[in-house]
């Protein structure tokens, strides 16, 4: 069939059957099918469920913004914060949301560097989740200051002198956090946008409406798919992945410094940075699964986001969940072995003190639930995985609550002990932040490709000119 010196020189021989890897896109789909399936999602009118979901989400978002206006106009006293527990739901929510974001960066950057090609089917949605989660996260530390203008004005967060010509204090991990989180949000957005450029060009070339053609054309910057461009583009993408990897590890490490650099019992431990990073990835993968399992079936994308993807993400949950469980155990061990009575008390108080219920909610969600995923049957049962992913989200919220509130409410002096109860404003602001998150995510589904079209094409067998299927066209 192949004439010598032509095709034979280029094509690799067909590998033996046992070495053939399962294709990432099922049913040997053609490149055109991939374009239609993914671009079709945001080109067709949204299905019926989208509108009620959107209205409820916008309602939640507006609730949150109203309550923030109430907080700013009245004072932080509208939250349940009190003297020993000056941080509670606000910082819990901040760490919760920022942790969610970490899975997106792990998928987009770390798995890219590790050449895990399966990431291409899930990275776009996961990166979108990262950016929206960081947006939700940023709200809490900004508004927990109450009189926000003092925080945002020079001298506290931004490197400019305040009214007394004093500059911000850079020995404080709280200021490190400002730089870490704002860098994280910015770089995640840049990385996401770079990935979107070729797909926006696809949408530009397919769009019929004037508005769509204009906006997709504007944001795709005149992309042509030129290989001279791809060459620089791929290098830039690799570099951004290489930059995002140390970034994502540093962000949650610095978030943990907010606690670990203080002297509060239960916070002042060296295990915090790795423990926080593992927990962040664990919670983020929980959220990725919570979002993608319904998405793949509602938009019939099962050939692209396959059961294998769900299976692999469950394995990540199992690995990071085990690290988190180990960290819980190690914290207790060091509290005893370290010989500090305050530290030991803080941990006994976590498990058996007035907040025992939050501790055991955390343990049952985070330590027990990932271990179902030792079994392949459970890893590939999407309904089961979806339910467990919800428990992971709940458990990781409780983890941050346990760390923050149980340590603060009883520190060194029993005379200053207290108890924190959330106010209705606390609760509804947190619920409303899900409204903001879902509003942004639903708009993302409505207007942007939910899966990286060009990247998925790039991992199909027919994309590789040396593959035996390099000339194949696939099925429509």
């Amino acid at each position: 069939m192949a004439s010598p010196g032509k095709s034979a020189a280029v094509k690799a021989p067909e590998p033996p059957a046992e070495l053939v890897r399962e294709s990432l896109v099922l049913n040997n789909r053609s490149l055109g099918w991939i374009t239609n399936a993914i671009a079709g999602v945001c080109e067709k009118p949204m299905p019926m469920w989208w509108w009620p979901a959107f209205i409820v989400s916008v309602g939640g978002m507006l609730t949150m913004f109203s309550l923030i206006a109430y907080l700013v106009s009245t004072g932080v006293g509208v939250w349940g914060l009190n003297h020993p527990a000056a941080w509670a739901w606000d910082i819990t929510n901040f760490v919760f949301w920022i942790g969610i974001g970490h899975a997106g960066t792990l998928i987009s950057a770390v798995l890219f560097l590790l050449r895990q090609k399966w990431r291409t089917s899930v990275n776009r949605a996961a990166e979108a989740m990262t950016i929206f989660a960081v947006a939700c996260a940023g709200i809490f530390p900004v508004f927990h200051t109450g009189r926000v203008w003092f925080a945002l004005l020079p001298g506290y967060l931004f490197p400019a002198p305040n009214a007394n010509e004093i500059w911000p204090q850079f020995r404080s991990p709280l200021l490190w956090d400002v730089f870490a989180v704002s860098t994280y949000g910015t770089v995640s957005l840049l990385f996401w946008y770079v990935g979107l450029i070729p797909d926006l060009a696809t949408l530009r070339d397919r769009s019929k409406g004037v508005m769509r053609r204009f906006f997709y054309g504007l944001f795709s910057l005149g992309w042509t798919g030129s290989n001279r461009h791809w060459s620089n583009y791929e290098k830039a993408y690799l570099l951004l992945a290489g930059l995002s990897t140390p970034l994502v590890l540093s962000v949650h490490s610095i978030v943990s410094f907010d606690f670990a650099v203080s002297v509060i019992p239960g916070w002042h431990t060296t295990i915090f940075p790795p423990y926080f990073v593992a927990g962040a990835i664990f919670s983020g993968f929980g959220m990725v699964l919570t979002l993608l399992i319904p998405l793949r079936s509602l938009f019939k994308l099962e050939d692209i986001v396959t059961l294998r993807h769900v299976d692999l993400m469950c394995k990540v949950l199992l690995a990071t969940g085990s690290i988190v469980g180990y960290a819980y155990g190690m914290e207790f061990f060091i509290a005893w072995y370290g010989g500090s009575p305050y530290e030991l008390y803080a941990f006994k108080n976590r498990a058996f003190g007035p907040y025992w219920w939050s501790y055991w909610a955390m343990i049952s969600c985070n330590v027990i639930s990932p271990h179902f995923f030792w079994f392949k049957k459970l890893r590939t049962s999407v309904v089961f995985v979806w339910i467990v992913s919800i428990f992971v989200n709940i458990g990781m919220w409780f983890e941050r609550f346990v760390i923050i509130v149980t340590s603060l409410h009883r520190d060194y002096l029993p005379s200053s002990w207290g108890y924190f109860t959330p106010s209705w404003v606390d609760i509804m602001t947190f619920v409303g932040s899900f409204g903001l998150f879902m509003t942004l995510f639903l708009l993302f589904i409505r207007f942007l490709p939910v899966i990286a079209i060009s990247e998925v094409k790039g991992v199909t067998p027919q994309a590789d000119p040396h593959h035996p299927l390099g000339g194949a066209k696939g099925h429509h």
Partner: protein
């Protein structure tokens, strides 16, 4: 689109598979063309070698960004907390690179990322909203499932008939002429 009055931009050849355009690119490289490019819906592995491209220099922009970021961070903190308004906190040193490190580290990454992005835009001359290629309706498939190769008329080896023959007979492609306004 009157090709008699318009200046020719080049010849556009269309291919159906990645393997076909890969071979055509190698033939173009070996034929000594310089002003040409391939347009594909995704980056094809090995195409840079097939086209004979040099390694992408984006990394230099990243490095310059990162270098600037790190030293801006360190200098800023030294200036603010030691030089301009010495701030004593907990009896700790007014400046050491240790406490300045986390912020400088984040600034390194931030400016590296901006350097990478804008370096890539600069090298690719993006945004560029006018392109003679966009006038061809079939070229819209280049972001879907077709592969295109364009040899531009500015290439010293370009000859309308000779190049057309080269593309149709050596590369087995359907060829159309592109014009500029």
């Amino acid at each position: 689109m009157n090709s008699n009055r318009s200046k020719p931009h080049g010849l556009l050849a269309e291919f159906h598979t990645a393997a076909d355009i890969f071979e055509a690119a190698m033939r173009c490289r070996d034929a000594g063309f310089t002003q040409w490019d391939v347009y594909t819906p995704f980056p094809i592995h090995g195409m840079d070698e097939a086209m004979g491209l040099r390694k992408s220099p984006v990394g230099w922009f990243t490095f310059c960004g990162g270098f600037t970021g790190f030293f801006t961070g360190m200098t800023m903190i030294w200036y603010m907390n030691k030089f301009d308004y010495p701030l004593v906190v907990g009896g700790k040193p007014l400046f050491t690179p240790l406490y300045a490190f986390p912020v400088s580290y984040e600034m390194t990454i931030l400016l590296s990322a901006f350097g990478t992005l804008f370096g890539m835009f600069f090298l690719n001359q993006l945004p560029k909203f006018y392109n003679p290629l966009f006038k061809n309706e079939r070229f819209k498939k280049s972001t879907d499932d077709r592969f295109f190769l364009c040899i531009e008329a500015t290439d010293p080896k370009f000859g309308m008939d000779a190049t057309r023959t080269f593309l149709t007979e050596k590369c087995h492609a359907a060829v159309v002429e592109l014009v500029e306004d």
